[in-house]
């Protein structure tokens, strides 16, 4: 029941609901993992290969990012042809809402993962899970960046999710992982524990070779300001302990842009007040603060279409349906 990535959730609560995590949620997790792995794969492809040719489409996620396209257009009066791919993102969002945030965005997936690490009782989560007006701040961040881009300063990269994630990986996380591997394997190599002729290095050295060949950098990279960039990255992840997907709810300017585009989707959440038992478990598991519970107005611009609410609803009152708003209902 506690479906947002706590498979070992408390058994008592599980029994109470008596429902298993919906297959849609598992499907969404698989898609999210695939896009996160693709992002990391493209990240590792961005190296000297060892020929002077970068890997396949290493800019793919930036190409899909309409915030990058629009700020570059405003600030430099230039349309980059590869960035026109982001029109697809916008077009789909107009009809299907912020699916991109919930299913594709690799930084969102990382936040989703960290949100699921936080403990806390269901009660605390549902009290903190609802929509708050602070969620408007991401739209202000977006307006700020668009305003400065209008007069030639493109600052969107500071908080654009792909830029933030990629920059943090490139200058902080990846070098730190390299150093960790080098130090730990180096330690084993120097100590060389073992019995008689059976030494640990017989395993660790080939393993280190494989890591270095496929994953690590040829030489330890060093960057200025990696501490600052790394601390900001850590802070962005730590904020998930206050609210699920804090970044996506309150900060992300791309999320705001997609929220504006997807404020009136045709795929809509319908909560049936007749069958709803008002347990508000949907609210406890909601990732975006979109008020999925019956009796409240669902917020399409905040919904990440993660399907958690539908999956956790014990009475099956929540459904996503195709409908044109304002036509079927008064």
């Amino acid at each position: 029941m506690i479906s947002h990535g706590r498979p070992s959730g408390r058994p008592a609560v599980r029994q109470m609901a008596g429902r298993r995590t919906s297959w849609v949620v598992w499907f969404r997790r698989a898609i999210q993992s695939a896009f996160l792995l693709l992002f990391l794969y493209l990240f590792l492809q961005t190296v000297y290969h060892p020929i002077n040719k970068a890997g396949w489409r290493v800019t793919l996620f930036f190409d899909l990012d309409p915030l990058v396209a629009i700020t570059v257009w405003l600030a430099a009066h230039a349309l980059v042809s590869s960035l026109l791919l982001s029109l697809i993102t916008v077009a789909v969002t107009v009809f299907f809402g912020r699916w991109f945030c919930g299913w594709v965005c690799p930084f969102g997936t990382v936040h989703h993962l960290f949100s699921s690490f936080r403990g806390g009782k269901v009660k605390a989560r549902l009290e903190a899970g609802g929509y708050t007006r602070w969620q408007r701040w991401k739209y202000y961040v977006l307006a700020l960046f668009l305003g400065s881009a209008l007069v030639g300063s493109n600052l969107a990269g500071w908080l654009d999710p792909f830029s933030f994630f990629y920059r943090s990986l490139a200058t902080a996380v990846f070098p730190a992982v390299n150093l960790a591997a080098q130090k730990s394997f180096g330690w084993v190599y120097l100590i060389d524990p073992g019995v008689g002729k059976i030494r640990a290095t017989a395993i660790t050295e080939p393993a280190y070779d494989v890591l270095r060949h496929y994953f690590l950098a040829a030489q330890q990279p060093h960057y200025f300001w990696s501490l600052m960039i790394g601390l900001l990255f850590g802070a962005a992840l730590a904020l998930n302990f206050f609210r699920a997907r804090f970044w996506c709810r309150y900060i992300c300017p791309l999320g705001a842009l997609l929220g504006v585009a997807g404020k009136n989707p045709v795929l809509r959440l319908v909560a049936d007040p007749a069958t709803c038992n008002d347990c508000r478990l949907c609210l406890a598991d909601c990732q975006g603060g979109a008020n999925p519970q019956a009796g409240e107005a669902w917020k399409p611009a905040e919904c990440l279409y993660c399907w958690n609410c539908r999956s956790s609803c014990p009475s099956g009152s929540i459904a996503f349906r195709f409908e044109v708003p304002g036509v079927n209902k008064p």
Partner: protein, 238 residues
């Protein structure tokens, strides 16, 4: 059908209050204007608009003129990740606050490899425009100059030809003048003193990177002469 489509369109431009966009016009305009104001404050920074140039701001090859560069660069760090010599580094304030975390070459960390164009290939917004290897080898990203107070043949009358040996251009941009100088014991010795040819130097920085004077090199690359900024030049004809 047509009616519902029309309804949908109307709802799109005038969203119902429950859509989740409960934004007041006042707050949106305020934040947008704050962005405009901030952007304007950045725009009157001395480095903006090509009024002055930071000698330490050596951008990667293919970088567009500075003003357009700051409009395009999204500080994603792909160029920093891909650089095989680790030369491309994030700025803090070298390009002004508005340029924070944009790329800069730090020649003591690495240098611009003569045969490499990777950063020009991976830039998602073409802030670093894509160049073929032959094009890139002609792009000047800066110009080297010699600090004669630190350079060994000048300052200490010791033989050193490291910068000339590493210089990658077909005709070396560093040439030697053989001179008789006095060493620290007052004896006359013959040394080769290096000079930079500003027409041939492309500012790749391998001389600065390999210079045996370890902390601050005796030959340094600054941004003057960079192809992308026609005003950042040694203005008198050479």
């Amino acid at each position: 059908m047509i009616k519902s489509a029309a309804r949908w369109l109307v709802n799109f431009f005038r969203p119902p209050p429950e859509s989740g966009l409960d934004l007041t016009r006042r707050s949106l305009i305020t934040s947008g204007l704050a962005g405009v104001g901030g952007g304007l404050l950045f725009g009157i920074h001395p480095l903006a608009g090509g009024k002055s140039f930071n000698p330490d701001l050596v951008r990667p090859p293919g970088a567009v003129p500075e003003e357009e560069f700051l409009g395009r660069c999204i500080r994603c760090g792909e160029c920093m990740k891909v650089c095989p010599t680790n030369a491309v580094q994030p700025t803090l304030l070298e390009a002004g606050l508005s340029g924070m975390w944009s790329p800069v070459l730090k020649m003591r960390m690495g240098y611009c490899e003569y045969e490499c164009t990777l950063c020009t290939q991976v830039c998602p917004t073409k802030a670093i425009s894509e160049l073929a290897v032959e094009e890139k080898q002609k792009v000047k990203i800066g110009l080297a100059y010699i600090d004669r107070n630190r350079c060994l043949p000048y300052a200490l009358a010791r033989t050193c030809i490291v910068c000339e040996e590493h210089c990658p251009t077909p005709k070396k941009a560093i040439w030697f003048e053989e001179t008789d100088v006095l060493n620290i014991r007052g004896e006359k010795v013959r040394v080769k003193q290096p000079h930079v040819d500003p027409d041939l130097c492309i500012g790749c920085g391998i001389c600065e990177n390999k210079c045996p004077v370890a902390d601050r090199a005796a030959i340094l690359v600054t941004s003057v002469g960079e192809t992308r900024n026609p005003k950042n030049q040694t203005l008198l004809p050479l």
